[in-house]
Symmetry: C2
């Protein structure tokens, strides 16, 4: 089979790789229907995460089950399945608490930009749809496996409630999916922070009621102008930089909440400042598995359409161009078709 | 009148001071029934907070209304009142949201170890009891004005729920009141971290089911032993040091919550570690005013008795000895009687 391999910053190649095999009785092999490039893939691509040796890439996937290990009974060959970027047995103490992305047997997916993928913990990770979904649904189902699930978690971690005011920091695919989530969870006012016309447009289409183009403390001041001077009830932080997290914390009102889903890179949070802010904070890799049945249903009933974040579609063999387009912000998110 | 004045670390004196006067139409003057020394008073006493010039001390009080400003109608001279260490107008946007300790007109109390005290924002701060409570209730009502209200907030911020497992880090008065709160909120298992026999005894009396004497990562390991290896649902951090906050964060399970009420002193929280922990975090000065009616009721019906944290009672003029006894950990908390 063939798949993407990163060799160094800026150097992603499409190469012939060994076909994946069942290694554990809890594995499944899927044939990739569609996959994509994630904003977090840009960290090593930009050299902000180190690449010591060449390795495959990709953690988002939907596809058709090819083969299952002897302990996998929840899905069977031929079924169309949606999973999560973090695999989970769905039986351990953390999974039972709903934190499947902290499963005691968790393995993060890392090889999905490829024709075939081995899924560890398949029994607790994969959810099959009823029959094979129409082609039109594939982008949104793919989004559910990561960015939509992550936006959903950000909104829940930020405790978006009916009638509340939500701010979304970050206008990448996760932030835009966060807008969808805030709207579905009943936010009355959704302030998207974005300075890119195409992303502002999509944010509005997804439910944003206000756009703030300023960043940093200027952006915070604009949010306060829109929220009686005190800040928003719920803030979804979807970037992971120090500036974005500060902006998020300062945009929340006393007693409000920040859900942070951008992987923090060298971020230190001042304890005393957090203390006196009264802001609640929760982050982490989204427990997508918890939301899969609901989110798949929302997609297949046409209620949400997160697949719109894919504004570039390429054959999988052009994966390098997908990275380049996202790095240069020519694309929000690149869909890859094997 | 007379009251406590700190001149330098270790140097608290009982001095003659000017009688407080109504300065704003929203003020009240109370005659102190009882007051006390707080763990946070030890920061300047120990030189960990600087004392640039001599100033009065104390922020905990219950007493009798002597005089009210022209805009104060909620309480009247002669009534017995309980307040909070943070004053609040109880009408601003933050107060309406229940965050009275972040009132837009907040003033922190700082002069309560004295015969008489001026209370700013009296209308929104003071709650009168029905008639004058019996002498026996005074310690517990005094505790409500700070340590019990703070322990209550810690438990709510940590999201203690019926049937949950709670850990309390810190065996000072706030931590011990946190045990009371966790029990009242229905925690099934309450693990108090303490290495002092007298405090362990009181923690058990208040509802602790387990005592952990180890500190730091050793203490965390003991908590994990008691919680299926994953950590506790709710952790109340009642100290404010880096070690205590780390211990609290590491003691919570993925998806659990830490409520932190010790004022953090030079604490930085690692963003990436917090992210991957999935632990929720909320702290701050407790919005005691929100809880006053309920907590006063719990005290006056005999359901809780947080006044037991006072294991030393002194005449107010011996306030310096109160500081000394607490600094040397001979006393948990010193009650002062004018």
């Amino acid at each position: 089979m063939r798949g993407a391999v990163i060799h160094a910053p800026g150097d992603v190649r499409f190469e012939t790789l060994a076909d994946p095999k069942i290694l554990e009785p809890t594995d499944a092999i899927i044939r990739t229907a569609v996959t994509c490039v994630c904003g977090s893939d840009l960290w090593p691509y930009r050299g902000l995460d180190t690449t010591d040796e060449a390795h495959p890439m990709g953690h988002e996937y939907v596809g058709f089950v090819e083969e299952v290990g002897s302990e996998v009974t929840a899905v069977r060959p031929g079924q169309f399945v949606v999973g999560s970027f973090a695999t989970s047995d769905n039986t351990c103490a953390n999974c039972r608490n709903g934190w499947q992305s902290n499963c005691l047997n968790r393995e993060f997916m890392t090889t999905c930009q490829a024709d075939y993928v081995r899924i560890p913990n398949a029994q607790g990770t994969l959810v099959a749809t009823d029959g094979h979904p129409a082609e039109d649904f594939l982008p949104s189902l793919l989004a559910v496996s990561d960015v939509m699930g992550t936006g959903w978690y950000a909104a829940l971690a930020a405790e978006v409630k009916p009638g509340s005011t939500a701010v979304v920091v970050g206008d990448g695919a996760v932030g835009l999916c966060g807008v969808i989530a805030a709207k579905e969870l009943g936010a009355e006012r959704i302030i998207a922070m974005s300075r890119h016309a195409s992303r502002q447009k999509l944010a509005r289409e997804f439910g944003a009621t206000d756009i703030v183009t300023e960043r940093g403390e200027e952006g915070v001041a604009r949010v306060k102008d829109l929220t009686d001077g005190i800040g928003a009830d719920a803030v979804l932080e979807c970037v992971g930089t120090t500036q974005a997290i500060q902006q998020a914390l300062h945009s929340a009102r006393p007693g409000g909440n920040v859900g942070f889903v951008g992987v923090p890179h060298e971020v230190a949070i001042d304890g005393q400042e957090l203390f006196f802010s009264h802001v609640g904070l929760r982050g982490g890799p989204a427990p997508v598995r918890r939301y899969l049945p609901d989110l798949i249903n929302l997609v297949l009933t046409g209620r949400i359409n997160p697949g719109k974040v894919f504004d570039l579609t390429l054959p999988l063999e052009q994966v390098a161009e997908g990275y380049k387009a996202m790095d240069e912000r020519r694309a929000i998110k690149a869909l890859l078709k094997p």
